[in-house]
Symmetry: C2
Subunit: 465 residues, 2 copies
């Protein structure tokens, strides 16, 4: 039997999970695996960067699940600092460039995995390339930010250090907390009416209050127009359309990411509405028998909205890699889609969502009822009881659960999993009311807050007729 | 329209939830509600007693959700310390006895709710009625135990106070922790090979280790034969079949409860295999149009095992009450059954189960595969990461999830809800692997431990063919 050649483009979660799983299923005699990674790191947790920056995680290397050497020990020929610059699908080969030496080469493949990830959106603003302006998408990004912070903190300037975070999504909010932890005065500039636009504004308002309470300044409706620099080219302040100027020693861009798919686009691979690569359920690129793709560069099926979406998240990337590796290795696995679950934390406040927000439901053409309740994370009399607010949406008539948003104290966020499973199963809110959830005073009131929300949503359904 | 008369027997969770829900749906002109409670308290959290005894909850009254006065303010004629001693179904009336005066009376009803609860199993042992031997099923029980502890603690005896807990189920383990918190030397005597027989022994062993680590002595295979008393009739020690004697200032019985159904049995109402009252899905007593029953005195349908079981738990009792009250009030609601979810806590160890243990699956005639994994509650690098062990059972061939058991640090127990919802939906473990659960470093590794267990269970299924 001839040895097959697998080429993996991108050495983080999806790519290296795929390579590892393929290797588990096929030894080096059957399958030769070559992986190319443009950065300095493999298989790391980008989601962990805010906790490293904030000091909860002691070292950068704690975020690395598997080093290049560990991958090589498993017979994966991993080339670091090597960028794939062209896909030649007709000839079955990729052109690579060594980022240190600049030398280029072609590598042939029988099977190809594209795991090129995402990149932070960098609006074309004057000054956006200044020293001190950072994305935090890759560990290389994190490394540069950390160096920049240490430089600033080591300098002689009197007075407090100031940071401006642009964007108030998960990464923006987590980075704001990290910078507060490092002693910065932090201002978060965001476009919407409330931070955390991944929630409806009424729920985002709860996050807003909590951020202000921990000393983070938030500016809503802020459109950044310019980054002002000093004569050394280092960031000095951030200007907005309203004419305000926010002084900054460091600027973190937390305005989201977009799929990194230039290679795929140039090769003519199918891309979706949001620019992500389109695959089938086995993560095979649509119309291409021997090419797979997964992680932050693909679109995934949103099972609740009924459409493809770009949802960059490490947990999905790891699952994609597993599915791809199974397929490459001759096994069978699929990634059926997502329901849009996400959890986050700002200080002692936990934030979670799954399924559709009001605007998602409207965009999907769904009519719905909603209910919001506030209860406690544990029995009200238990000493660790904290407030927990749950908002729930259900489809009019059918009563099908459409989405849940949660904001509350410790123990709130992972409750969203109840709704994530119920959404996957297509349960109605009547069915949710009857769920047999874990109850004991240290863990829940006798009616879990998710059930209380479901009861109120059922009542809203009845009222809507 | 004539005023209907509703009589409720039992004033705790199920009975008073039913009364309250019925009152919400029908005013006093339509429905007259009379409730009888033999004890001193209504609508309290019996599950909270260990935390009151242990001092985490400051006062007894914190456990009371609604006082008799609050119920009366809602036009519920609540008679405390009044025991129903006979049901006359033919005439539609109940005979009551005032426990203070001894006087008796008949009260007629059009609709009847039986919510008589459960009572601790009290084995017929010499000395079982001694001073200092306590159950902890009702708040009256808790009150007596508290008085007994305060008496002992206030006495002049030198040396440490010693407590013996008989039984190592949820209540036994929680009471052991509570007594340790009060400064007692605690010995737990239990019959099985491991404490927490609500788990398989391999998972119970983890609880065992944790209990010993916190200084609780556990004696497995211990059959209590006698309670020895001093000449005042107060407990002195507990003797076992092995001939050992364990000195005790106080003894707590945590050997489970049984449905309190003497009234129902005498009236000829249908009882199940474990002695609980049998109802239909709307909690109406089978064969009786105008009688409902719920809470710790009924059997419920175990949706996974496919049979009726007695599962006394406050969360079910509250749901039953809601369903009964809706039915009584002319609405429509059902209680479809349970999947056997339970959570508990011993010190910093969280314990959870749902669905079937190995022996339950065997008893149900099911063949299964199993897998156990150990992971962490959060990303491994996050500072609050704690070990978490998950055991999963799936049906052979079909791959249907059958049960999950969890033992681990903070954040472990409520993850059982994921499995509870999946069991309710009849998911296979393959479906569980693909669930879109909340991921962020403070809340979960990139693969949630429940998903890791599902992956291993899927592998076990494949291996079993």
């Amino acid at each position: 039997m001839a040895t097959e050649r697998l080429v993996v483009v991108g050495g983080d979660a999806a790519g290296m999970s795929a390579a590892s799983q393929a290797r588990r299923l096929k030894g080096p005699a059957e399958l030769e695996i070559t992986a190319f990674e443009r950065g300095h790191f493999t298989s790391y947790s980008a989601c962990g960067i805010p906790y490293w920056i904030g000091g909860q995680v002691p070292g950068r290397d704690d975020l690395i699940a598997r080093t290049p050497e560990e991958h090589r020990a498993r017979d994966i020929d991993l080339r670091m600092r090597t960028e794939v610059v062209e896909l030649d699908l007709a000839a079955g080969r990729v052109r690579t460039r060594d980022l240190d030496s600049g030398s280029e080469a072609w590598t042939g493949y029988d099977k190809l995995v594209l795991a090129t990830g995402a990149r932070p959106v960098r609006p074309r603003l004057p000054g956006i390339a200044a020293h001190g302006v950072h994305g935090v998408q890759t560990l290389d990004d994190g490394q540069r930010l950390m160096a920049s912070l240490e430089l600033t903190e080591g300098s002689e300037r009197a007075g407090g250090r100031r940071a401006v975070v642009v964007g108030a999504g998960y990464i923006g909010v987590e980075m704001a907390e990290a910078l507060v932890a490092r002693g910065y005065e932090v201002t978060v500039l965001h476009r919407g009416p409330q931070p955390m636009a991944t929630l409806d504004p009424d729920m985002g308002a709860l996050v807003h209050t909590a951020m202000n309470r921990m000393g983070i300044r938030t500016v809503s409706g802020a459109e950044v127009t310019k980054i002002l620099t000093d004569d050394q080219g280092a960031v000095r302040s951030v200007a907005t359309a309203a004419g305000d100027e926010y002084p900054a020693d460091v600027v973190v861009l937390g305005i989201g990411v977009e799929p990194r798919t230039a290679l795929a686009r140039e090769a003519g691979l199918p891309l979706g509405e949001s620019g992500g690569i389109l695959t089938d359920l086995s993560m095979r690129v649509r119309g291409h028998e021997n090419i797979w793709s997964g992680g932050d560069c693909v679109e995934v099926l949103d099972l609740v909205a009924g459409r493809m979406r770009h949802i960059p998240l490490g947990t999905h990337a790891n699952k994609h890699g597993q599915v791809i590796g199974s397929g490459v290795g001759g096994g069978y696995a699929t990634f059926p889609g997502v329901v849009g679950t996400a959890v986050s934390k700002v200080c002692d406040l936990e934030i979670a969502r799954t399924g559709l927000r009001e605007k998602d439901a409207l965009a999907a053409g769904l009519r719905f009822v909603k209910a919001t309740i506030t209860s406690t994370t544990t029995a009200g009399y238990y000493p660790t009881a904290a407030e927990m607010t749950v908002k729930m949406l259900a489809e009019l008539r059918t009563g099908r659960l459409l989405g849940v948003q949660i904001v509350g104290g410790a123990g709130s966020a992972k409750r969203v999993d109840i709704a994530a499973v119920a959404l996957t199963a297509g349960m109605t809110v009547d069915q949710v009311v009857s769920l047999d959830l874990g109850y004991a005073p240290p863990f829940s009131p006798v009616w879990d807050p998710v059930l209380v929300a479901a009861r109120k949503t059922v009542a809203a359904l009845r009222a809507a007729g």
